[in-house]
């Protein structure tokens, strides 16, 4: 495939990526958390969002996938995954949130034809707090999906570096 064809294929693929990212997220929550997510109404309000989980992608697709939500939502996600009280310990809560991000990234790349074989995932990282900025050092595009988890904002974004 020459460069022109390759670029065209990537552009076409990118058009479907937000829908695939949303679907990948919905499936992870339905199967592992036991909750159906809903589409967030516009205008979207991000109030209280203070937890971020992130997974790096390297290979044919390079970038970073992030999932952001509130601390209360993340505690609820962990409790639903484990079937325990929401007042579970912080380490376990971060672990669960990281795994959710990891599964969304894996499920998303699995849905992109031909991408799964040549794209590796990093282990997840969880950031607590809202007062931070991300500065990418590579030229990038970004897709983002705004959802609601039990009424809490849930923002899933993929920053694409190549």
């Amino acid at each position: 495939m020459n460069a022109a064809h390759s670029n065209a294929a990537v552009r076409i693929s990118h058009e479907s990526w937000p829908a695939l990212l949303g679907l990948a997220t919905q499936e992870v929550f339905a199967i592992m958390v036991g909750t159906e997510l809903t589409t967030a109404p516009e205008p979207f309000v991000e109030s209280g969002v203070d937890m971020t989980s992130m997974v790096g992608l390297a290979g044919e697709l390079c970038g970073v996938l992030t999932v952001r939500s509130t601390g209360a939502a993340v505690a609820l996600i962990a409790s639903k995954m484990l079937g325990v009280d929401p007042d579970t310990d912080a380490q376990q809560t971060w672990d669960a949130f990281g795994e959710v991000c990891n599964m969304i990234a894996g499920n998303f790349k699995h849905k992109i034809a031909g991408m799964g074989n040549d794209c590796m995932l990093s282990v997840p990282t969880v950031i607590t707090g809202a007062d931070y900025s991300v500065h990418s050092l590579a030229e990038s595009g970004k897709i983002s999906v705004n959802l609601l988890f039990e009424g809490h904002p849930l923002i899933v974004a993929l920053e694409v570096h190549s």
Binding site: E27, V28, I31, M32, A78, M81, L82, G83, Q91, Q92, D95, A96, G98, E99, N102, M103, A105, G106, N107, H110, G116, N117, D118, C119, M120, L121, S122, V123
Partner: protein, 128 residues
């Protein structure tokens, strides 16, 4: 098989608990569950205990699941224990690599308890 000893290898403690719960929901009779956060820890567990079944993630720090599975033929306490990979890495390449390395089954995350049952019960049946 009744009252089996299981080793679950995953860098997420939450995922280890979910895998254990899925095995119990599948009706597998478990005597003891050993947990490890990576391949090196898992080899350490196998120095101390014999197991009947190993469930293993791929992407882990220190030693990943594929490398761990490649080491198993040299581990006496893992002899005859089937390995089922449970991982987000569901590509054809990863499946082939895992099966070539010695894994007997492959479950992609996210997974339902039924999917775990579907992939684990046949390998346990073959073992017994």
């Amino acid at each position: 098989m009744e009252n089996i000893q299981v080793l679950i290898v995953d860098d997420s403690s939450v995922m280890r608990k979910i895998v254990e719960r899925s095995l119990r929901q599948a009706g597998i009779s478990i005597a003891q569950v050993f947990e490890a956060g990576n391949g090196v820890e898992a080899l350490g567990v196998l120095n101390q205990a014999k197991v009947d079944l190993i469930l293993c993630d791929i992407n882990m720090p220190v030693m990943d699941g594929l490398e761990f599975v490649k080491q198993l033929p040299n581990v006496q306490n893992a002899k005859g224990a089937p390995v089922v990979m449970i991982t987000t890495e569901g590509s054809e390449n990863h499946v082939v690599q895992a099966l070539t390395a010695g894994a007997r089954g492959y479950v992609r995350k996210p997974f339902t308890p039924d999917q775990v049952k579907e992939h684990v019960l046949p390998v346990l049946a073959k073992k017994s």
